[in-house]
Amino acid sequence: MRRLLNEEDIRTLRARKFLMWLFIISSFMFFAALTSGFIIYTAGSADRGLKIVLPHIFRLSTGAIILSSVTMHLSYLAGKQEQLAKQKIYLILTILLGALFFIFQLLAWQTLIREGVYFVNFNASQSFIYIFTGAHLLHIVFGVCILIYTLIGTIKNIPQNRTVFRLEVGSIFWHFIDVLWIYLYVFLLLGQ
């Protein structure tokens, strides 16, 4: 009986992890829709298009988020090997890098505004920059929330295997928003 219950539990757990993958798919569709919208809109007339050089701060934010993916993975590996101190440090680093990314994005917005590229804009291609980055930042906030939730777990000393589960689900999402940002950045670069 006990053995059987365990089998059911494994199924449930696998199903819950899979939920994260599905969420990523739907989130990907959301951004696919926005970028397709950009393409359709921009193709509509010669007056439209980015027509600017993107702020260089985007390169810094790209660096920050790639680095955060690395620390995220290191934290997950440490968690699996039950190296608790290392796991916590890398987790905190990831959260900080996430925050840094957030700040870089805000700085990039500032640069855009200084250059006269406003959100309220009759060339909506330029408004789209804010939509892409803003929607992505929401994902960053959500990702950071998951990481903080995991961190609280480690501080409260919940059983290690539960922490590893949270780390695993969290890192799936974190790597996704990393890749997502690279996609958006490359997309914008190709459009400029």
Binding site: L4, L5, N6, E8, D9, I10, R11, T12, L13, R14, A15, R16, F18, L19, L22, F23, I25, S26, S27, M29, F30, F31, A32, A33, L34, S36, G37, I40, Y41, G44, S45, D47, R48, F119, V120, N121, F122, N123, A124, S127, I131, A135, P159, N161, R162, V164, F165
Partner: protein
Amino acid sequence: MVSATKLDHTVLAHHDHDHHKDTFITKYIFSQDHKMIAKQFLITGILMAVIAMILSILFRLQLGWPDKSFPILETFLGKWAEGGRIKPDFYLALVTIHGTMMVFFVLTAGLSGTFSNLLIPLQLGARDMASPFLNMLSYWLFFLACVIMMGSFFTEAGPANAGWTVYPPLSALPKAISGSGIGMTLWLISMVCFVASALIGALNYISTVLNMRTKGMDMWKMPLIIWALFLTAILGVLSFPVLVAAVVLLIFDRSFGTSFYLSDIVIAGQALPNQGGSPILWQHLFWFLGHPEVYIVIMPALGITSEVISVNSRKPIFGYHAMVYSLIGITLLSFLVWGHHMFVTGMNPFLGGVFMITTLIIAVPSAVKTFNYLATLWRGNIRFTPAMLFAIGLVSFFISGGLTGLFLGNSALDINLHDTYFVVAHFHLVMGSAAIFGMLCGVYHWFPKLFGRMMDEKLGYLHFWLTFIGAYLVFFPMHFMGLDGVPRRYYAFTEFEFMKEWLTVNKFVSWAAIMAALAQVAFLYNFFHSMFYGKKAVANPWHANTLEWTTPVEHLHGNWRGEIPSVHRWPYDYSKPGEKEDFILQTTPFSQTMSSNLPHDFEGDMEAEQIQKNWEANNGVVSKS
């Protein structure tokens, strides 16, 4: 593996703990049990359907008797029906909210929500959904969406009235028409809640189907309804985010002054500053969701019909694999056809041709399904239960409404037919009536599973015939109005000379609509009365094969006492030659049905085939292989 098992146990132990102390609130309100959530979805869906139907009767009154005053309307509607006549703005609001509620609240949440929640765990042998908590959240977001949408009726300016497709600029400029203000804002908030609900639900359904099937239940042993619900959920996951993206841009246009959709607009003689936007962009994004949405509506209904027709014909479903591949085909094609809603937006005719071809190809899987239903019925031992009648009704609507799709899908014919009553007739038959019939069919069929009691058959027959005839009387004449060029959504159609002659037809349609609406009273009485006073159901009242009928009549958390049953065969072994009973449960192993096993049952398992051959030799049966 061992450590992983231990790990999971500790992770889950925490959650399982919470389930057992049920209070009234955790059992009936914030329930995490999939069966209770299914009931919540169903009853909310029915409530929304009744409201949306009443809205339709209101605008039918206007269409049938455009010059007559109904003082009673003023009593109930106040300033929206001053002098007993519905005002034009309110008429548009009625049409808009009727469409929104029917498409999203009734036929998406009410249909998918109810039957996915009820049947996915029960027919696949799972104790509950992948995440019962998210499942609860899904329902309550849906409920919130309903409340907000209803709330818009109580605002000063009235509900949204830009049509259920909320095209900008009507939806993007708060000053455009009366419903563009607070009504539209509430509509958007409501839809955001609804989309969140639908997405969370869909994620849960997919994950459950893929991960939580019981032993032996491989994908090709799943009942067709599960396939349909599964593919519907996939459609939802891929298309609803696109609507969210479109709505996000719309909200910024409405409230922040961006110009994604707006350009060259003059309101009351005053030019707006917005420039450079593209209203067509909204249509692209909206219909990328909008078209899959109509399959989100119809596919669960088709799945329900597959089950009910097979059970009540006492025959295996004809072409199980073809049915699955047709569903997959419809799922894929549904993403490639959105342009057929936009043939007359100035689309490049070549592109229109592409969309026309993809659209017409959908006729192929649809026809495969239709013929398979008919072939299943053919020479079956048919039991005309109310559920069966509704299933057959669905097939009828699917054919008569589907055929007109071939006309509308043609980009040249669409120049004449677009935005006329022909379109209204088409989609009300093929996805409106058909999907509603699928839903009602499901309610009659699974009522014993939902409430442990039977519905009254006689009232069911009355309900069926009045609704079936009523629906045809309402929608069939609309084809001819459409062919004559009568546009949809017109309030005062009698103002146009050539449309005046359609007044009598509109009167007739309105009477038919009133009759069909009254027929629903039979259903509502039957539904709510039987819930408490119906005949007690037995565990497997229809003698069906699927797993849900192996659970006890009274609901218990976790669905099965003790072990979850394993599955040994596909779900459609009805009237198998050589078997005494005319149904064999999916849980019955082949070793218990030696007299009826066929060589292909063993799927190439040589050992099993040998055992079967030996048994046949020993029992003097002429080998079937």
